[in-house]
Symmetry: C2
Subunit: 413 residues, 2 copies
């Protein structure tokens, strides 16, 4: 894409109403816009990053048998009364509103109830199980305080997968698969090294649930890390068991972290409340065993920025970068830049091409740093004279002069 | 995909609370689930159709210079007060709710106000225009009566594009491009033949706006069609000008139709209210000229069913069908079916493979008709003995025996 055509503009000033690094950089780079506290709009470059993250999660969910659905946001109170989660005293983050035709409706903050209810049309026998529907759908949460930019918002797209199994063993087997799929996601988006499996409270149906916590000074969670096992326990658990659940090590290190995902055994909590049953091989009715598995792609995006940035801007991991290459055309390099852009476009290399005539070299290079695409190529009078271009990784300080052929090789085309 | 793995089930019974053909068939085929009146959830096959429609619209919007964004649903009342559209007496379909931290917010029923406001960060000079952001984003509309299944709902994904131009001429030029892009969309989803450009009221800034109306007995709109020009006028316009706006023909035929899209010249209605200005070539401040362009992909989906169905089920156009091929394995044909499924999967042909062991031949064929995939292949003992398979188009009555090679040719692999 030609930067001269992109409608968004960068800005130098840090927005006064944003304390978090992720929101400051995203707004300055023109990736997102703040609508109100806790609600952000995604502009073209930001949406590309979000969709790259969503694409990775989708692949990993499909790989473990996930089937994608898209449930409504508007919620029928009757279902939530059955599970006793309609009352604001029980769930304190509801947004509720009123139908013009009469009656209250809610905006979904999670989707256990409607999904459990709809599965009653599709599950009756043990032959119909196990199944793993998931979606990318907006959740609305009436947080008292939105904070941390994309880290805690009132409206966000969430990937939520729900497992429906016949037995605890079948559930456990999928739970482990989902855990691995989550690690795959965090590996692919670049966060694996910083992310630890964290034991959290399990509710009535299992000892533990698990959070995926990314170590980061901007995190609002506190976890207690066992450096031997690279697992952690959260605040709640550490009060009960002040030791690593795996090696019993009691020397746990307190760390700030961001919760980037969680997986939860729900047992029969919702299937009993909403009467989702199946007939087993002996003809007896059994409640379905459920689990839920969440990742917020925008929170992952915010976390990646918190972990990967410097004073100049974002440093996107390759896999989720809005473009593979940021190509800057400076005076005298226009012809080479144009030629390379045409060639790469034909070969489906995603290039953000800074072809702006009026921006100064300094502005162009500062924008490239701010936007954070992992590879930058500059074509100028100097490089043209040598029949080369200048290549620089966003994560490194030094640029190197390379031939067109070497550039093609770097990009694998 | 193997039908034995798909979690949804079909049903024979027509749902008692649905009068419209589209909702009845979609629910029976397991494509959607009704959450409440006017809110539907999309199940795997339904989501595939919706995404195919969205994919076509996205390509056509990108082709005319659209840049995709994704705005928030939660709305800041202040912006809508400036354009005088916050008051329920003016806009009577608002869903409003309250922030826990205090203050009202709305759920977006359209996005002119927030987009105009955010463009102020990106547009200042004539050099920044024209630009055409668009999105696929949920709209919430508090309709007194939801009706017609997917045709009029309280919550639906909408493609809304907005144009920001420097002059009326520049606006008009884009408006014509958008009109053509809309015809391309309706051509590609199979509705072009049934869809007519319909002149509608233009508001204060232009004589007309335009609706795209699909002729259909299930439609709730009445239009007045000029058979010579294949254009129409809507109810409002016919009262003022009882003649074809193109040939002045006064013999207009009354028809029922479904509005599948609309395009609208907004002039400076929103740019003046929200102060979106640019500096022109002479250094003078000018308000931006705007337009809006909407299509509801789910309404298009519902309309397609209303137009293309028979007593057995849906008849999807190829371009939006959830799969390219519905392959049915009957007794004795399992080996051939399995072999073809493996081969086609490798070649990226999208096959819904009915490998169910317990469904009867009658059930399998009835499900194929209900689900409506345009091509059906049956492998049975009879076809295997002849080293052939049976091919039938969903839109035709007769099946033909063809060789594997001929099938590959039909599928273009």
């Amino acid at each position: 894409m030609r930067l001269s055509q992109l409608f968004t503009k960068t800005r130098k000033e840090v927005p006064g109403d944003e304390e978090s690094v992720n929101a400051q950089l995203l707004i300055r780079a023109g990736f997102v816009h703040k609508e109100l506290a806790g609600a952000y709009s995604f502009l073209p470059l930001g949406l590309r990053v979000l969709n790259n993250i969503i694409g990775i999660i989708r692949e990993e969910m499909n790989a473990i048998g996930g089937q994608e659905v898209f449930l409504s946001s508007l919620q029928n109170p009757e279902l939530w009364k059955k599970s006793k989660r309609w009352d604001d005293k029980v769930v304190d983050i509801w947004f509720k509103t009123t139908l013009k035709s009469g009656g209250e409706v809610g905006l979904a903050n999670t989707h256990e109830e409607p999904l459990t209810e709809l599965m009653k049309n599709h599950v009756s026998s043990y032959k119909d199980l196990p199944v793993f529907p998931y979606q990318f759908q907006t959740k609305f949460r009436n947080e008292l305080r939105a904070k941390g930019g994309l880290l805690r918002t009132r409206e966000f797209v969430m990937k939520d997968l729900y497992s429906f199994s016949r037995s605890q063993e079948e559930h456990n087997e999928f739970y482990e698969k989902a855990k691995q799929a989550y690690f795959n996601v965090f590996e692919r988006v670049g966060l694996k090294k910083h992310t630890v499996l964290t034991f959290a409270s399990g509710g009535s149906f299992s000892k533990y649930s698990h959070e995926f916590q990314t170590l980061c000074s901007a995190g609002e969670d506190i976890i207690f890390l066992c450096k031997k096992c690279n697992v952690a326990v959260n605040r709640e658990i550490v009060k009960e068991v002040n030791a690593c659940p795996e090696c019993k090590n009691t020397e746990l290190q307190e760390e700030k972290a961001i919760e980037v995902g969680n997986i939860f055994s729900l047992g029969t909590r919702f299937s009993e409340a909403l009467k989702l049953e199946f007939t087993d091989e002996k003809g007896a009715k059994q409640p379905v065993i459920m689990g839920s598995y969440g990742i917020g792609p925008a929170r992952v995006m915010g976390t990646i920025i918190e972990v990967f940035h410097d004073e100049k801007g974002v440093v996107w991991p390759e896999t989720i970068s809005p473009f593979a290459l940021h190509m800057v055309s400076l005076e005298g390099g226009e012809k080479d830049a144009e030629k390379l852009y045409e060639e790469f476009s034909k070969k489906n290399v995603e290039v953000l091409y800074d072809d702006r005539k009026e921006a100064s070299p300094g502005e162009k290079l500062a924008d490239a740093d701010l936007m954070g695409i992992p590879l930058r190529v500059v074509a100028s009078k100097k490089t043209t004279e040598q029949k080369k271009v200048e290549l620089k990784k966003r994560s490194e300080e030094t640029a190197t002069l390379i031939s067109f052929g070497e550039l093609e090789k770097t990009l694998g085309v």
